[in-house]
């Protein structure tokens, strides 16, 4: 009898449960939706990059989003030398504007925002369900938290910086705590941590929206290089439609 119990314990050991495809898709949709606002979104971000042997990069930027129309604008406001520089995403195009030369350039998804290790996707609306197919790896522990470990592979037409992503999602609160991005070869490129999420009631949406208060990005290729993004303030009031145009950003600089 004791032997039977041992065998049955062996077979039931391992992950407490494995999520089905439908459950995983549901989780991704949930992760996307809770970050999405039906109205507009504006936040004030602090971005800092540290790299061994180099002067730190520090920026302040304002991020404007209109998720319903898939639009994003990132405008740098400080330091003075970088103020007025910005990024505009329209559909699948990412444009960068440099006011010192008065030029727009088409950039790729791999663009390092302001030369840091952050990318467009770190500031844009979450589109995990739309862009990736999930696989369940297992239930794991991250620090003192129990997490679902998911492996996501980019869908065929998705415009993403990296084709493979791994997510560690808190079982209890469904917040992403850790994210790793890999190249097609499987090489680990970035590890990002989301230690704190803020929750804010949106009048237009009629429910809470979530945003990471802090993102810590570690470069896995160039060791010792890390980026910190802090969302200092969030404003959910309606934005002027002009903000999502090239002309608007151009008009900010003389």
């Amino acid at each position: 009898m004791r032997y039977l119990v041992l065998v049955s314990l062996l077979f039931t050991a391992g992950p407490a449960f494995a999520m089905s495809d439908a459950e995983m898709t549901k989780l991704l949709v949930q992760l996307d939706n809770r970050q999405k606002n039906s109205g507009d979104y504006k936040s004030l971000a602090f971005i800092e990059q540290k790299e061994k042997g180099k002067t730190d990069l520090v920026y302040e930027a304002v991020i404007y989003r209109r998720d319903e129309q898939d639009k994003l604008m990132i405008m740098f406001t400080r330091p003075k030398a970088e103020a007025g520089k910005g990024y505009l995403r329209i559909d699948k195009n990412l444009f960068m504007y440099d006011p010192t030369v008065g030029k727009w350039e088409r950039r790729t998804e791999r663009e390092r925002i302001g030369g840091t290790n952050s990318q467009r996707s770190d500031f844009d609306e979450s589109r995990l369900a739309l862009e990736f197919n999930p696989k369940y790896v297992g239930e794991e522990k991250l620090g003192k938290f129990k997490v679902h470990h998911l492996k996501l592979e980019a869908k065929k037409d998705a415009d993403v910086a990296y084709p493979v992503m791994e997510l560690w999602v808190d079982v209890k609160t469904s917040n992403i705590l850790k994210q790793q991005e890999r190249a097609l070869s499987g090489r680990l490129m970035r590890t990002s941590y989301y230690p704190k999420w803020n929750k804010l009631y949106s009048q237009s949406k009629g429910e809470d929206i979530y945003f990471p208060k802090e993102i810590r990005i570690f470069d896995e290729i160039e060791k010792g290089k890390s980026t910190l993004v802090v969302m200092r303030k969030v404003d959910l009031r309606a934005l002027d439609a002009n903000i999502f145009t090239k002309a608007w950003l151009e008009s900010k600089s003389r």
Partner: protein, 687 residues
């Protein structure tokens, strides 16, 4: 007496004397020739480097992690040569050293130069300006141009669709192309221009090929000082950058090779090879392949034409090629089918008729160009600079190495370098202080971030974020291009390294020592290197050349040593009776030894002089006619298209000394054998 006997012996043993003498003559000839040629290449390189880019000496930080390499060593990454934070401090001290003519500040960097995206982006941007200004005629022309580029892309995508696996993506591209064919689409430029441009920018422009982009190497310097101190510097087009103004001078080679229209470049290449090296399209594989590629580059002409010019060119091509029928594209393709019989005529037609209708370079002298570089801190910095002119170095027009770097004013270079001022650092600190963040170590990140607090979420009150206190509402100002500067600005800022130009006739080694002393006394923390070291791998070439020469000479003399030795041993054995007899009549061993060495000395001196004479005459002749440089790299080493070698007395003396030493060494063993021959041996041999 001994000399007479030795000469008589050499004549008596003609055969072995001729063999040994020929070997010595040939060896001396090679040695003298090699030494003179190596020294001539060394002098040419010195002339090239000191008069074009390097100066006699270079000075840079003692804290540099990498060794200075003026021409780059081709490795990845940006080398760390340290910094001279205030160039003027070093200039004052070093220019006060006797013999120093001038010190020119420098700093190398790589930049990206690009136009406004691809050809479609450029056309759409032009169209936007034209619509804003209400220029109807230009509008139709640009629309026609966009349609023409899109038609080509459509054909390419359709062809690709038949072989590609990714049909879905290509179908979506074709769908986008259909949208601009819809009736009334272009009328939208009057009624809803924003929507039309939005569609063109986001859906149509990405269908274009990759835009024009160039990766250039820049030398940031005080351009006025540079032009005054490098003798071979000359402006070939445009003007010098006015003193105190920001600006850019592009190297002739870069302008011709990397900025020129690709059809023009192909025509130039074929002409150059035909005229300079007497090659033909028919017989040279590289030219044949260039000529084969040429018709496929017809868009390099047709995309550049206005509607009126298209019509005009079509008519002219009809006259030139009456048998060719079809569209302008087909006529241009037929025109570009060149062979040895029609090349000269087509080349003239291209430059006389087509070039005035197209943009020969994708940016021109007088244009403002945008340079983009990665700063010291790792972020991209872009600046606009005016291209004032094109420059090259006299005699080095055809070398890629001498003309590899474009010149940019030092103030703009510093902007691209991105050294942070104290004021900028303070600004960053104030932003950082507002946020008050903690550093997290990569290794312990998970424990630090997820090991403490139980809470992962915070509820935020709505009104906390209703206003943003940032600079968002400000109007940002950037007016870099128009600023001017003076000598004090040059002196008060950064340089990475600097060239030291010496007065004529000053000894480089002595000057180096004096400068080092001055640097040490003034605690400048700099190091000084000669032009050979400063030019990196290029400078090492002469060392390699010498090593190869010495190895070759060593092998030649090793072989010579064995042959001479063998011949002398054979000759000794033939002379057993003679030597035995000499010994019988009282010749001592020392006398025999002396005789043998004397014989080889006489032969060595005679043959060595003959060899040196041949070497001298050959170098004199080569010095008159010159040795042509068969490649662009050798033009750099030869300091021009031909090397005119010279010979000095030291080359002949070294040659003779080496050859006599080898001859003596190779004779020691046979001479020793000879000294051991006893008179009785001679008598036995008789019997």
């Amino acid at each position: 007496m001994s000399i007479q006997i030795a000469v008589r012996n050499l004549i008596a043993h003609k055969f072995s004397s001729i063999i040994v003498g020929t070997i010595i003559t040939f060896g001396t000839f090679l040695l003298v020739l090699g030494l003179a040629l190596t020294d001539s290449v060394n002098q040419s390189m010195e002339r090239t480097i000191t008069s074009s880019l390097g100066g006699n000496l270079q000075v840079y930080s003692q804290d540099a992690k990498d060794e200075l390499s003026l021409y780059g060593d081709g490795f990845m990454g940006t080398p760390d040569y340290g910094e001279m934070l205030r160039f003027g401090d070093a200039r004052e001290v070093i220019e006060a050293v006797p013999g120093v003519k001038a010190m020119v500040p420098m700093g190398s960097s790589s930049v990206i130069v690009s136009n406004d995206g691809n050809e479609l982006d450029s056309c759409i941007n032009e169209l936007r300006d034209v619509v804003d200004n209400g220029q109807q005629e230009m509008r139709q022309e640009l629309i026609a141009k966009i349609k023409s580029i899109i038609a080509d892309r459509e054909a390419e995508i359709t062809r690709g669709r038949d072989v590609a696996g990714d049909v879905e993506r290509l179908d979506k591209m074709l769908e986008q192309i259909e949208t601009i064919k819809v009736a009334g689409f272009w009328d939208g430029l009057d009624t809803k221009p924003d929507e039309v441009f939005y569609h063109l920018d986001t859906n149509i422009a990405p269908l274009g090929d990759e835009g024009k982009i160039g990766y250039f190497r820049n030398l940031g310097t005080d351009i006025t000082r540079f032009s005054q101190n490098f003798d071979s510097f000359q402006i070939t087009q445009g003007t010098m950058v006015p003193e105190g103004e920001r600006g850019y001078l592009i190297a002739q080679r870069v302008y011709d090779q990397r900025v020129k229209n690709k059809v023009a470049k192909a025509f130039d290449k074929i002409k150059d090879q035909r005229d300079t090296f007497d090659k033909t399209i028919e017989n040279d594989a590289s030219l044949k392949s260039e000529a084969k590629r040429l018709p496929r580059q017809y868009r390099g002409i047709t995309y550049e034409l206005s509607t009126a010019d298209s019509r005009m060119l079509n008519d002219k091509l009809k006259s030139l090629l009456p048998s060719v029928e079809g569209t302008l594209d087909e006529r241009v393709q037929a025109f570009l089918k060149v062979d040895d019989s029609n090349f000269d005529k087509r080349y003239d037609f291209f430059y006389e008729t087509i070039v005035p209708m197209i943009k020969l370079h994708w940016f021109n002298v007088g244009d403002t160009i945008t340079l983009r570089a990665v700063t010291k801190s790792g972020y991209y910095k872009s600046i606009n600079v005016k291209l004032w002119g094109v420059y090259n170095f006299k005699g080095l027009e055809k070398t890629d190495l001498a003309g590899a770097a474009n010149l940019i004013d030092l103030i703009s270079f510093r902007e691209l370098y991105g050294l942070m001022s104290e004021e900028m650092k303070a600004e960053l600190n104030s932003i950082r202080d507002e946020v008050n963040t903690q550093d997290v170590d990569r290794e312990n990140a998970e424990d630090a971030l997820f090991g403490g607090s139980d809470s992962l979420e915070d509820d935020i009150e709505d009104d906390t974020f209703n206003a943003l206190d940032s600079n968002e509402g400000e109007q940002f100002s950037h007016t870099l291009l128009d600023t001017t500067f003076d000598a004090e600005d040059i002196d008060n800022g950064l340089a990475i390294h600097a060239a030291i130009i010496l007065e004529p006739g000053i000894d480089q080694l002595q000057a180096k020592t004096d400068i080092e002393k001055a640097i040490q006394e003034n605690k400048l923390g700099l190091q000084v290197v000669g032009w050979e070291e400063a030019s990196g791998l290029i400078g090492q070439f002469i060392v390699v050349l010498r090593v190869v020469l010495y190895i070759a000479i060593f092998i030649i003399f090793l072989v010579a040593l064995v042959i001479i030795n063998n011949s002398m041993v054979m000759a000794t054995l033939e002379r057993v009776t003679e030597i035995g007899t000499m010994r019988a009549i009282g010749a001592q061993q020392n006398f025999i030894m002396k005789l043998f060495l004397l014989e080889i000395m006489i032969l060595g001196i005679f043959s060595g002089l003959v060899g040196s004479g041949f070497g001298f005459l050959t170098i004199q002749w080569l010095g008159q006619v010159g040795i042509p440089a068969p490649s662009r790299q050798l033009i750099f080493l030869f300091s021009g298209p031909k090397l005119f070698p010279t010979i000095g007395l030291e080359h002949i003396l070294i040659g003779l000394a080496v050859v006599l030493s080898v001859s003596l060494i190779s004779t020691l063993y046979p001479a020793r054998i000879a000294t051991r021959i006893e008179p009785v041996t001679a008598m036995q041999a008789k019997e």
